[in-house]
């Protein structure tokens, strides 16, 4: 049995356009991964391929589960609360999650709701950007599973909320679970990442441990990431 997340020869096309090709990636259990790349590089597509909501070529396995239906049980991904009417209240969304996901831990949700100061009586339409992200984090982390995907959880939110979200990730991620956090701005999460995966030129351009980057190249993660976009970098 191969534990963790494995992608082999994954390809995805949209019409005539290749979005991702030759994606090979292995992530071992317990790791926190920064999925980096410019806007439109294919980070969200990669997440949707992993959950099975986008269909491409190649093999994707989470703890040996390769079939989409089976894989969905091993991964928690809350895609922008799509599918809920704008007038839906937060606690109705939570009840829906409790009904649909057998691994949803309501006690855990309540702990996070308190910690992140989420008001269950609010309607989705009245949530601020930061509050919406907090709700997404709480819903995603309340499922007890093997892989958690967070798509740009820090975009457009204030630094206090960011700190609380980072704290929640550290506090509630199960030890053996993998967490993938996408971002196009790495400095806000660099300190909590085990590894970074950079999506560039329609494929996995770089996959390296953060402390290895610091030791090997004597640079910060942000500087290293930025250097990948400059010509003639020395990190090949």
């Amino acid at each position: 049995m191969t534990a963790g997340l494995t992608l082999q020869g994954v390809q995805y096309r949209h019409g005539m356009k290749t979005i991702l090709h030759d994606v090979d990636l292995t992530i071992t259990p317990g790791k926190i991964i920064g999925l980096l790349g410019e806007n439109g590089a294919g980070k969200t597509t990669l997440m949707r391929l992993i959950t099975g909501s986008a269909k491409g070529k190649g093999t994707i396995a989470i703890n040996d589960a390769t079939v989409v239906g089976e894989r969905k049980q091993h991964v928690s991904f809350t895609e922008q609360l799509r599918g809920f009417a704008r007038e839906t209240r937060v606690d109705q969304v939570v009840n829906f999650y409790r009904d649909v996901y057998g691994d949803f831990d309501f006690q855990r949700y309540q702990d996070m709701e308190t910690f992140l100061q989420i008001d269950g009586s609010l309607k989705l339409t009245s949530l601020s950007k930061g509050m919406k992200e907090k709700l997404i984090i709480a819903l995603t982390l309340s499922r007890r599973t093997d892989l958690y995907l967070l798509d740009e959880p820090f975009s457009g939110i204030d630094s206090m909320s960011r700190k609380r979200i980072i704290n929640s990730i550290l506090q509630w991620k199960p030890d053996d679970a993998i967490m993938v956090i996408s971002d196009h701005y790495v400095s806000e999460v660099a300190a909590i990442l085990d590894e970074i995966v950079v999506v560039k030129d329609q494929t996995i351009f770089t996959h390296e441990a953060t402390d290895t980057i610091r030791e090997k190249y004597d640079v910060g993660i942000e500087a290293y990431y930025e250097s990948l976009y400059e010509k003639g970098n020395d990190y090949d």
Binding site: G30, K31, I32, K163, I166, N167, L170, Q171, K173, D175, S187, A190, A191, I192, L193, D194, T210, D211, R214, E215, D218, V219, G220, I221, E222, A223
Partner: protein, 123 residues
């Protein structure tokens, strides 16, 4: 805890805990918080904290007791050695930087003495 992005995080955590031991904030024989609590305290991930702990255990500064947790060593000689080692590292860094400015040993010593007197005057 504020991290320098250029320096491996596990190394910064290790240095942070070593400083607490030398300053006496963490006493010999004292139990460290759990790995997850430490991770939350410094805002780093559990794996990184675990790596820092493993290195401190290997160095004999932290004793890992199965099922009980991690403790600062009771062996005060080890703590004294650690203190000597950290002092040496700091002094060596300052010495090398001054030496690179072509200062002689005597000049380095004098500038240090001068600094200490001046500093006293300011306070």
């Amino acid at each position: 805890m504020h991290f320098d992005d250029k320096i491996p995080i596990y190394y910064q955590i290790k240095t942070h805990i070593y400083h607490e031991i030398i300053m006496g904030t963490l006493q010999p024989g004292e139990k460290l918080p759990s790995v997850r609590q430490l991770a939350l305290d410094v805002t780093a991930n559990v794996n990184t904290v675990q790596r820092a702990l493993s290195e401190m255990i290997a160095a004999g500064i932290i004793d890992s007791k199965r099922g009980k947790g991690n403790f600062v060593t009771m062996d005060e000689t080890k703590i004294t050695d650690l203190k000597t080692q950290l002092i040496t590292e700091q002094v060596a860094r300052a010495y090398q930087q001054l030496h690179a400015l072509n200062l002689s040993d005597e000049e380095i010593l004098n500038s240090l003495k001068h600094y200490m007197t001046q500093r006293g005057n300011v306070e």
